[in-house]
């Protein structure tokens, strides 16, 4: 083998003193200088990173370094030392790393998609009432802030009528804890259930209700969420999913979007089931209390009209209203339509709970499929970690 010689500097790994040396490469790598002699097997030689023309080599696992700038030697050395660029500490290969990382990522996503909701369903009934109560108080403060601090409606006669209605709906349904229902003055026709059996009815539901049964149906729907502890479950679920995903994925470009989208899909899928359960609960409750279960369908058609688009169906937290209305009417039965949950006097009192509300339009047109209504404003979807609403 043609010997190649060059000059360079050797560092002995003990001191930073450079020793001027002559390098001679045959089938061995020989380094000679004043007080320096090394003779290495070419298979043991490793190169550390350096910018050309500088080259830096040393035997594997040692701190001895030889630095040189000879172009001929730099060109020949990789040909004679097969493992020159090998890095023992990084064995395993990038492909294996990438595949394992993807597998780990998919596993975490599956846990977040299926494991966390399952766990939330198991954990929610186990949350002590006192803790849930505290949670509810905290969430109520936040929600009221988000809604723009709508004032409470506390007209005495209305409050009494509301309490009688709640008592009638709750009777014999075995709800956990004591239910607290409040009405707040707000221009959005919506209702919310928070942890700790707190139900907030926004006053516009009262305005839009043509019969007491319609208002009672929305209320009963919310009580359905109370019965299954949906708000606590969704709180545990969304915080668990968010915690898991954001912790594992860190915040490199793109992953925040994955996290947000994943969360929205997860919570939407599970909440659609929860909505259907709450609908069924509302119909049964109303029918049992002597009211009109089908009223839920007519009020939903008025305040939660579907948009035209079918896109994004998997992202919707609520099922389509026409689908809901059909199953509500079927469950309520044909004879439900004639019944009234409370007397007219109580209904008048209840509507007076927020003094000065605009009166409901007289019910000259009964809700009918033949007469298309102008599409109402689509309700803005909120962040998935909010309590279950209407």
């Amino acid at each position: 083998m043609q010997p190649i010689t060059a000059t360079g500097a050797c560092f002995d790994g003990v001191s930073a003193r450079p020793y001027p040396v002559t390098i001679r490469v045959t089938d061995r790598f020989e380094v000679r200088g004043e007080g320096v002699f090394h003779d290495w097997n070419l298979l043991d030689l490793r190169a550390a990173d350096a910018a050309a023309p500088l080259m830096r080599v040393g035997p594997v696992g040692s701190l001895i370094r030889v630095e040189f700038t000879d172009a001929t030697l730099a060109a020949v050395l990789p040909l004679r030392c097969p493992d020159l660029a090998r890095r023992e500490s990084e064995e395993g290969g990038t492909l294996r790393l990438v595949l394992w990382s993807i597998a780990a990522g998919v596993s975490v996503i599956l846990v977040a998609l299926f494991g966390v909701p399952l766990l939330a369903g198991v954990l929610a009934p186990m949350v002590p009432d006192a803790v849930e109560e505290r949670l509810g108080a905290a969430v109520e403060g936040q929600i009221v802030d988000i809604l723009g601090k709508p004032p409470l409606c506390t007209e005495a006669a209305g409050k009494a009528a509301l309490d009688r209605l709640v008592a009638k709906l709750v009777a014999g349904r075995g709800l956990p804890g004591s239910v607290s229902v409040t009405v707040r003055r707000h221009k959005m026709a919506n209702a919310l259930t928070l942890p700790g059996a707190r139900v907030i009815m926004l006053s516009d539901v009262l305005v839009k209700s043509e019969t007491p049964d319609e208002f009672a149906a929305i209320l009963a729907h919310e009580l359905g969420h109370v019965a299954t502890r949906d708000p606590t479950r969704s709180l545990i679920q969304s915080s668990g999913t968010a915690f898991l995903l954001s912790l594992v994925f860190g915040d490199l470009t793109g992953s925040t979007i994955i996290v947000a989208a994943g969360q929205a899909i997860v919570s939407a899928g599970y909440s659609r089931d929860a909505e259907r359960r709450a609908d069924a609960y509302a119909v049964d409750t109303l029918n049992a209390a002597g009211g009109n279960g089908a009223a839920l369908a007519s009020i939903l058609e008025r305040i939660a009209k579907d948009g035209d688009s079918e896109t994004g169906a998997f992202l919707r937290s609520h099922p389509f209203t026409r689908e809901r209305a059909a199953s509500i009417r079927e469950r309520a039965g044909p004879e439900a339509a004639g019944r009234r949950i409370i007397a007219e006097a109580d209904w008048v009192a209840l509507k007076g709970i927020c003094p000065g509300l605009p009166a409901a339009k007289p019910s000259e047109s009964k809700p009918s499929e033949s007469k298309p209504k102008p599409p109402g404003p689509r309700r803005e979807r909120k962040a998935p970690d909010e309590p279950v609403d209407l």
């Binding site: 500097a9 370094r65 990382s101 707000h186 490199l252 793109g254």
Partner: protein, 433 residues
């Protein structure tokens, strides 16, 4: 006297120079691979990406003719991150549970977690530096760092408190004090570095920043407090009529000094942010120069000629590149929008090929932007700032470098840096010291 730089034949280099290979050959490849693989591995590849970047930057920087060498591995960083998760998850859960169980503590939950995470963050910064030092070789000599990370975190917390109490005036003294602690616990082999950095040296530059950015803000805030009688009125902001969630100033305050103060504050705030962005590179450059000049190793000293403009240029170039990219994107989307406007009018709501093109372009633009910015950030900001600091620094008394002797202590554990990454304090893509 042996000139160390002369040991390599070829072009004679001025002895004691620190150089950086500005050609940046191969850096784009590392950044592209790092970004794309990080994306598809849910970010796990970032530890290997950082390792590759560090190996590149270390090996392209020569001190007195010899390049540095980074011997850390991605696996070490990843394991450290997993261990850090094991420590952090219980802490997060404990804080959450504590604030839930005890309403009295709930009000302090935010403060409590901030204090805990701040201390842990400073601890992690120091431990991360220790890891990087112990994975750095120069002429076969391992660097190291001793000292206590908890002592460092305690110092940082104390100084931060003092900085808040003195309305920011103690800041340069904090910086100098922490720099002294870091440098005085940095070892090259067995040789210990020293720093004579003093807060008073930094004070003039800090006062420039302070006078332009912080003082007007503080003055406006003080004016507001005085006008409001030292208590912030709870009904200052009210819901906008008809728009829940939107807030406007309570009309009853119109014309009062409170409203004037609020307007002044609203004007000075944004101006202060812009001024701060413009002045931070200036302060950082001055600080780096001072810290470099203050550092020494026995009779070996450093001198820096770093100019503030060397710190401004990379940011300006980066900013202009981003601006140019967005201009192109806007033009492309305007063109596509025009196409839809012309072609899609006949069938409203239809999903035409143009819509598909729009969706595809959006996705491509998003990914392309991410990739481009990642590459530009590494090539322009990181590489140029690194080059500016390296090349403006000169080592004096290099003959004494030959006396450095390797230390027998074991290199620091690879678990040191994981916490910094898990806490997002300088872990991600942190390549300097």
């Amino acid at each position: 006297m042996e000139s160390v730089a002369g040991h390599i034949d070829g072009a004679p280099r001025p002895s004691g120079a620190i150089t950086f290979d500005r050609s940046l050959k191969g850096l784009t490849g590392i950044a592209v691979k790092g970004f794309l693989l990080s994306l598809i591995t849910f970010g796990i590849y970032r530890f290997w990406y950082i390792t590759n970047l560090r190996r590149y930057f270390w090996s392209r920087t020569t001190v007195d003719g010899s390049p540095g060498e980074y011997t850390g591995t991605g696996k070490e960083l990843f394991l450290g991150f997993l261990v850090a998760l094991a420590i952090l998850v219980p802490i997060y859960i404990a804080i959450f549970a504590l604030s839930l169980m005890s309403p009295a503590l709930a009000a302090f939950g935010g403060v409590l977690s901030f204090v805990i995470l701040y201390l842990l963050g400073q601890y992690a910064i120091y431990r991360g530096r220790r890891y990087r030092a112990s994975r750095t070789l120069w002429r076969g000599i391992r660097l190291g760092q001793d000292g206590s990370a908890w002592a460092y975190a305690g110092m940082a917390a104390g100084w931060s408190l003092l900085t808040v109490v003195t309305l920011g005036l103690a800041f340069p003294f904090m910086r100098a004090s922490l720099e002294r602690y870091r440098i005085r616990h940095t070892l090259i082999g067995t040789a210990r570095m020293d720093s004579t950095a003093r807060g008073t040296q930094l004070l003039p530059y800090w006062l420039v920043f302070y006078g332009v950015v912080l003082l007007p803000l503080l003055a406006a805030a003080a004016y507001f407090l005085v006008a409001a009688g030292f208590k912030i009125p709870t009904d200052l902001m009210v819901a906008k009529p008809g728009k829940p969630g939107d807030f406007i100033m309570n009309p009853t305050y119109a014309g009062t000094p409170v409203a004037t103060a609020l307007t002044v504050l609203g004007f000075i705030g944004p101006v202060g942010v812009i001024a701060a962005l413009l002045l931070i590179p200036f302060y950082r450059a001055r600080e780096t120069r001072l810290f470099m000049n203050a550092a020494s190793l026995g009779s070996v000293t450093l001198s820096s000629t770093l100019r503030a403009r060397q710190f401004y240029w990379p940011y300006i170039v980066y900013f202009l590149s981003i601006l140019g990219f967005f201009l192109v994107i806007v033009l492309v989307f305007l063109g596509l929008g025009l196409l839809i406007g012309l072609g899609g009018g006949r069938e409203p709501g239809g999903f035409s090929a143009v819509h598909a093109l729009l969706l595809f372009t959006t996705l491509a633009a998003y990914l392309g932007a991410g990739l481009l910015f990642a590459v530009l950030y590494v090539r322009i900001i990181q590489a140029r700032l690194w080059a500016a600091v390296a090349e403006s620094t000169q080592v004096h008394g290099t003959e004494a470098l030959a006396q450095i002797v390797a230390s027998s202590r074991a290199p620091a554990s690879g678990l040191n840096e994981g916490l910094a990454d898990a806490l997002d304090v300088g872990g991600a893509l942190q390549i300097g010291f």
